[in-house]
Symmetry: C2
Subunit: 451 residues, 2 copies
Amino acid sequence: MANSLHTRTETVLRRLVRRDATSQVRKVLAKSRPEDVAAALEHMTRSERQRLFPMLGDRETAAEVMVNLSEGALRDVLASVGSGLIVELLERMEPDDATDVIEALPEELRAAVLSDLRGEDTEELSVLMSWPSDTAGGIMSTSFFSMPEASTCGQAIEQIQSKGEDFDSLFYVYVLDGQGRLVGVVSLRQLLTNPPNTPLVSVMTREVITVGPKQDQEEVARYVARYDLLAIPVVDEHQRQLGIVTVDDVVDVIREEAVEDMMLLVGINDDAAHGKGIFALVKDRAGWLLATIGGGVLSSELIGSFEQTLMAVAVLAGFIPVIMGMGGNVGLQSATITVRGIATGHVQLGGALAYIWRETRVGVVMGLLFAVVLGGYGLVRYLDQPLIGVSVGISVCLAIIVASLFGTTVPVVLSLIGVDPALATGPFVTTASDITGIIIYLGVATVLLQI
Amino acid sequence: MANSLHTRTETVLRRLVRRDATSQVRKVLAKSRPEDVAAALEHMTRSERQRLFPMLGDRETAAEVMVNLSEGALRDVLASVGSGLIVELLERMEPDDATDVIEALPEELRAAVLSDLRGEDTEELSVLMSWPSDTAGGIMSTSFFSMPEASTCGQAIEQIQSKGEDFDSLFYVYVLDGQGRLVGVVSLRQLLTNPPNTPLVSVMTREVITVGPKQDQEEVARYVARYDLLAIPVVDEHQRQLGIVTVDDVVDVIREEAVEDMMLLVGINDDAAHGKGIFALVKDRAGWLLATIGGGVLSSELIGSFEQTLMAVAVLAGFIPVIMGMGGNVGLQSATITVRGIATGHVQLGGALAYIWRETRVGVVMGLLFAVVLGGYGLVRYLDQPLIGVSVGISVCLAIIVASLFGTTVPVVLSLIGVDPALATGPFVTTASDITGIIIYLGVATVLLQI
């Protein structure tokens, strides 16, 4: 059965490549699915990747493997093969896959490769490459199966029988009018279950869900997911069909975007961590940590400015970390919910005020709850100085409310001004929550304890 | 164009329901796609949901809307309709969708509904319900199109023409032997592009990628994504086909699981935040915060136990938050990468030691880097007491290394003992990193400054 086979392929290939067992590697490659070879490459180091890829004898398979690689692995592999081979492989790919490879090429190689490609390919490629890679236009396939309005089901079937092999993804028949405008869609099943002489126009769905070429890929993915589509047509402003985005590309988009958001929230710039060097990994993660250091130095100065308060009541210092921690964690929770909500469309910028208001009420309830818990502990622990417990209770409550306000407002504002909310939210919200937490706590304590 | 239509439907429906404009609501509903009605319900409060749903006149549409609801919205809607209507709607659903609805029913209603369902339905439902809802068996559809081994392409087409309407998802023809064992698969396109008298066995793909009914839905999703499948067959241990999992269900699984992991990492138990009450939302998020309080109280005691050190050199207190913060953030980053790595299969438990070793080296590099940055700042800021800077530098380095060790090891260990690594990682790793950070820092300072 194939299930267990695929992980086996990965493990076996890695072991053999490490042992430099070339002839055995070739044997395994000959029996492996390209997707599994690609997965094996993902788990390898740069030099292992560059040794394994050239052992793929068959061009067709090599192209198929390349198409399944992540950006990091792709770059490594491309660096090890000549431009002649790259051109040969590109000619075996679907245009939308080919553009991804071309975009991963180093600048100097790209021009050489593009000029070596045959005429008809380049035209299609340059159309695709004119759209940003994270839009419908950037991920669409320009090879789709269409029929003129006047055709019958039988004629469509005949066309598929003679030309069907040319289409990588044949899920629907798109019905176009004389101007190339999309007027309807017919499923393969509808073709088969209607008599051959049925006109397409009498069975087609007229209310076709479409996207424009500039639409963000996340939005495209949302349509495909919501309406359970296998492919969604991309049309221009005159409703002329430019291409289709297929569900397998949408699956990739959904996986990438969710992980990307998650990583960005904890300040990691690139998910393609596997197969990278140590220093590249540190670089991906250092941004948030530098912000933490910056915020931390500011906090240490702030705490220092309350030196008198702390000298007078030394135990106050003990509660600084927990108040900061509560603020930071509440802020991160609110930010995570809000960033996901914006990404999935649950939080709409039009209804942002209502959303912020609701989250603020959640913050108030949590603030009161934890004020009782932590303030109560402070009271009992330092019975002789009840104002310590009171200060702690008031501060943790305010810190939580402020943090949930930050966590909801920051992503909404970022999104309104056109910045990816996942990008700046994590570091900004936690640092801001930390600092306001300290000011609130030491300020409240100084006033209450009259120091 | 449909693009803008769908958000319009949502907004319009919400406004009309709030205004109680019943006749207008009915008009909008009559022209809306069920998926858009479902999306509108997602954004509503419980009482709005319960007013809107019964206005769906047509049973077919109501069933279709119900199938597209999230669990929270589904429960609200179910609470407002009688068991008679529920049975009618269930009879209009695919078995795999029906089981989801039945599982969302309150216990007392479930028995009544199950006993009212007609015989043939219940048999199929009870098979599906015997598998856990997050396995291949739990999400599969038992209606798939198959042909006996001896058939030709033409015979398969004839079967589709006469019975195709019965199958909700017809992407492939599964070829079964006399014992119901899956021996191959043929795509619809292959059927059409081969002469009618071609035997299926001569065109079918024999190496079919299959899953077992107990396989985790995340793993199923990974197969479908990797091999770009439209549906994956579910087979028992004798290779007999039980059902198929279709790509649209896989899209839902991928979306849910990624979000679930992300939420769990910041200690949020349930993503279905939209449409919940304030107190339910607080409950979802309180767990991590209680852990933070617990860790915080412990930290405050620890800091208190170093009172002498802090009294002697008060400015030491100022660095506690930043050292804790660095540890906490590094721990959360490592944990996020590891949890995602385990979920996507990039981190395999067999290679866990190599992975932990690599991440530890990343931790060492980051530790040294930030030791120089923060220790350097401490040296310059308190030039007269250089040992403060040295203590800060050493401590931040150690705290970062320990935190990245926690962040990688905890999820791996949880996963090894069969606990979902996303579940306990966030609170555990941040709390543990905080506490060890304090001990390291105040310990190092006490020793170095000889207090």
